[in-house]
Symmetry: D2
Subunit: 384 residues, 4 copies
């Protein structure tokens, strides 16, 4: 395949593989696999605007597709219901960003007990503009610096210390992110999640799960999705990471928790008048994610087998890792390699300065090629 | 034309009239005008999802169309620059909702002077969930209940009273909405805007304009757009009301004001990872809005002339009105009339209980038919 | 009644026992009685530091006098219990300032319903630094500008309007000040208080009474103290205005309301490590206030009778007035008059610029002289 | 040195003049001197209400003693000026509690950079009801758990991490408490204070010193008071711990910092209408504190010398300790010992459960007896 061929087939054709009816004709699917972009930088399909809009048009043209009204009803409600079901929670609400989903969750769970225990490495503590503190009036206590797992001992210490102050500062919420973006998407230890959850519930403390990329975990831990969500009162999952939304998040919890929460979403300026263009691709992506993700890792594993056997590549898998591994290339400048392989339809991030390792994200674009085809392109790109 | 014909032509064709290149073939445009939906309930074209997605696909396929990254750059930057230019301000930022745009504006303008004078009838005071107060920590003082215009006398009284308290509560901002949604989109008096602006500036008080539907005003007041915006430090304009965005708002002001404001947008959870699907239709709609809106009113005026001459209809235009008038129908039940005319491709809101008046919004869908054609459909719908 | 008689009968006699050197020399006490200052500028006795400290020492030397510990227990608890009883509420808490008392009250009563309706003329809205808004995150809606009475119609309008917004902004509290300091201590209409209370309770809205000078009202309205307090969930009364505290306030309400509130007092930095030096004179002052205040007005009325008969003075009493009246002097410069009468042991405020009226506050220092003695001093001071 | 000698030389002599009935009968004064209580539980003189009020009366009777007006002017201003001078800062303001002093300080220093680095063990983080977070809208980041010293490495890590988040969360303030109450009043390392201060200033970060008991440090570290305060922009010192106020704190800083701060004090409900009864004893106590404290330790050291020589007592001094040491008693139940020595005019805290150690606070009440007299009472109390 050369670049011209890829371009000639057109980007719209490419979308067929995830459009309704995809897979009914083995031949056409196989053709598509040969020609489409493989993307090791993304969590989802890494659609460009034209690809995204084409799929959106196809979805919007279906019978029964309905717009939402200020993020209520229509396609939004369908996605909310689908995720409530997948996550095993009675109710769910769409939120325009994960930042706001986490903020709404901990703010409402906390109520009058304004201390919230979080991981020092969490997105909520580091990458959310301190909105929970500055706008939500919460005190987020950062624990376990440098770690993905929040140990029960630290949780217990701070719950007890918070009670022993001269003025009551009760801990209202424990919020845990897993996998942890700032720790290369490694996962918190499942046993410790269980222990923290059991302790918190005994103490009347509420639990929030920042599961932006939660759907990847069962593949690695063997624990089903709902084994995680059952440990928490509320769960946030990103829609644009694994599920090809333009933006958006789901916040799931009890009926009581979700009831009336749309008013808070509006107060924060988060009620999009029409949200459906952000999430119309989600329902379908979510339905097939876990199967596709498992299959994507089978492709990745097969590819790595071939590459490592060549002696020119080495993969570093992370303990408790999830969507990411690191790739090393021997005998060539890794930055040059990345640029050459891009010309072969494979998008990779630039190597980490210092180590030269290339961070690699596994996603369903790997299903667009066979491992040996992929491996050939990797080998070809070794040479300038 | 009958309903079947309209349906047969297809909704996508309809979009041609505002798509790039529209008008190159007079014949096809004329045909479209005959068949498309006229919508008296909307501020923009009232696109349904399929229409919207089709236009989006066309836009996204253009050369040079670029996605934004967390609401920064790409198509978002283009819209920001276009609006900065239109509004005569050095800089502008996209915000996902008008609620957040107003909130970011008054919060930043206020700084340490936390009193903000607003109209009692304003959207900011009534329909924003009190976010400025609960999240922004501002004290919004509601003045001039029942009126669209905020009189200088009330502004001055409260500025002085705020200084005379035992503790300093300085007024930092005067925020004015015009036209005022809760007053049937009637406009604040321009002379009073000038006087309030002059006074506030002399006192070092900042000024924000909630101009969600600001672009409609010049047609009615004869004052150019920038005559309004020059009176204010910051201006918010809605993108989804007049400009066919799915959602979104522009907040324009000085370079200093806009600089770094994207961090606050993120803190509120308002940074869509990809915003372009919300606003890709905006740039074009904005470029032609004022011409289209004037033309739309010419159609509306011609239509009302015919209807009133018939003796069966009466239009009530509002003093200082803008996008809305009220229509009365004689000799038939107005609710039945609304339902019958919908079958003739004209969408109207239900009559106001009690008065039976139908609120009518003027927009560019009126350009899809000639006045006499429209009038004929109105007359036809009089009969059950 | 001559001076001797008055002292023999009178309420002031009691105070002698706590004056400096009291009881050591009968003669000196008599002297002091003859010369004590009459003070028309104060709500209480207007004690100077030495007078205050002397009384404090006498109180602190009593058997059973106990210090508080961080504003808990000891003399503080005694004052709390006394006021709970006087106000007919199950519980009460000392707060260092009235500003904080009002703030704690509306913040806790509001809970999640963050709109609070207040008088535009209230101390809470004008003279409290907007703490309820900036620190408490409440939206205080100022109603009835220019009036002492908050009419039910305005309350109902805003309760309903707050429900009709696009986002829920429920009214949680109605807070009413009476008498109103900024309206010359005139009182809100009692019948309207009853109507507002009945309406609010039917709607589940809580009620707070800013009764800084509440104890003066029964004398003027004929309504007993507890007829007022029964209409409200919480009541704040100032301790340093009528009851000779150095500082401080009482906040009374239900057991549930007061329970745990001391933690919020501490969070605001309002828990004095030892509060007793601020309030040790309160218990005694409160016990006798209503009797003394009635007697003080009898003296004032008798004095005004003599003065008005002379044709040189005129008193302007206010409709719904309480502690204040205005005095006009004919035939002399009022500012000069005020200075001359000060040399005769009578303290008055300077005349209001423009009108020349002297604001006069009625308090128990009037019990230190007989009306004819007072009148003589007024007449004498007419002459330069 | 016998008791008489001590009185002749000593610093306590001065206090006699303000004791109850002082000066009226030489004999009774002498008696009181002989029996005065020694108090190992207090930071100051541990005055009871009658003692306090007697001294207050004496102070209030002095020529030129002036009440403050809402915590402005009069005796309050004198104390503010005295502490500004002692602390080497241009300006200072009285605040009713240390909790509020710290809160006002970090809130104003932070401005728009809302992250504040604090010790995990600090009073501000543990014992202030999270007011800085809940009311001040700050994010307090707790560092160095278990330690008195805040290491530069942790400060630098969090300053850098705060800049690296996706949204800017700049660190605005580093707040350090020394000595640290929750670490037995041990002091932060002075060299590290210097390094942190130098780093923060280079980065434009402001510095606050919670020096509630700061005046004790020079005695132990050899560093003069102003060597500490020069490292910080603002300093809080408690008035009721070492200086015999009933309540209160001083917050000192630049003219700019203090200017207008009284409005914020009022907004928090912290402006006592008359503060002088809380602080009238402060000026004198502060002037002599450092001399008295040094002398008190000389008495304590002499006492401990005698006690340890007896073989029945052992003192545990703390590394970097300040006002506290621990005392162990051999051969008797320590709780019984504490009760018996109380009958000999020496107040001690109850032993720590488990260790049996008695926490001992050193203060100027030790100047009320000679070491050998004290030692004799200790020895006597060994026997039931």
């Amino acid at each position: 395949m050369d670049r011209r061929t890829f371009l000639a087939t057109g980007s719209l054709a490419a979308t067929a593989s995830v459009l309704p009816g995809a897979g009914t004709a083995a031949q056409s699917v196989r053709d598509e696999r040969l020609f489409q972009r493989i993307d090791f930088t993304s969590d989802g399909l890494g659609l460009d605007p034209h690809e995204y809009a084409s799929r959106l048009q196809a979805m919007a043209g279906r019978d029964g597709f309905l717009a939402d009204n200020y993020s209520l009803g229509g396609e939004v409600a369908k996605v909310e219901q689908a995720f409530a079901r997948l996550l095993g929670k009675p109710a769910a609400m769409f939120v325009a960003t994960g930042t706001l989903a986490n903020l709404l969750a901990v703010r409402r769970l906390a109520g009058d007990d304004r201390r919230v225990l979080v991981q020092a490495e969490s997105h909520l503590y580091n990458d959310s503009g301190d909105g929970a503190q500055l706008l939500g009036g919460l005190n987020l206590v950062p624990l376990a610096p440098g770690q993905a797992t929040l140990p029960l001992t630290e949780v217990r210490d701070w719950v007890e210390r918070s009670r022993s102050g001269r003025v009551r500062n009760d801990v209202g919420v424990v919020s845990i992110e897993t996998p942890v973006r700032r720790r290369d998407h490694t996962a918190a230890d499942f046993g410790e999640l269980e222990r923290v959850s059991r302790y918190a519930r005994a103490e009347g403390i509420r639990l929030h799960l920042d599961g932006a990329r939660l759907f990847a975990l069962p593949q690695h831990s063997g624990q089903p999705l709902q084994a995680y969500t059952a440990l928490f009162d509320t769960v946030y999952v990103s829609l644009w990471k694994h599920f090809n939304a333009a933006s958006g998040a789901i916040l799931a919890g009890s009926e009581d928790f979700i009831d009336g929460l749309s008013h808070e979403r509006r107060m924060f300026g988060g009620a999009l008048p029409a949200a459906w263009p952000q999430l119309a691709l989600v329902e379908e992506s979510a339905a097939r994610f876990q199967v596709d993700y498992a299959e994507s890792w089978r492709v990745a594993d097969a590819l790595l087998g071939i590459l490592e056997a060549s002696g020119r590549f080495r993969a570093r898998r992370l303990g408790d890792g999830s969507v990411r591994f690191y790739l090393s290339v021997a005998g060539t400048d890794p930055a040059g390699f990345v640029q050459r392989i891009r010309q072969r339809g494979i998008r990779m991030a630039m190597p980490v300065p210092g180590t030269g390792e290339i961070p690699m994200q596994v996603n369903a674009t790997l299903l667009r090629a066979a491992p040996d085809d992929l491996a050939r392109r990797f080998m070809d790109a070794l040479h300038a």
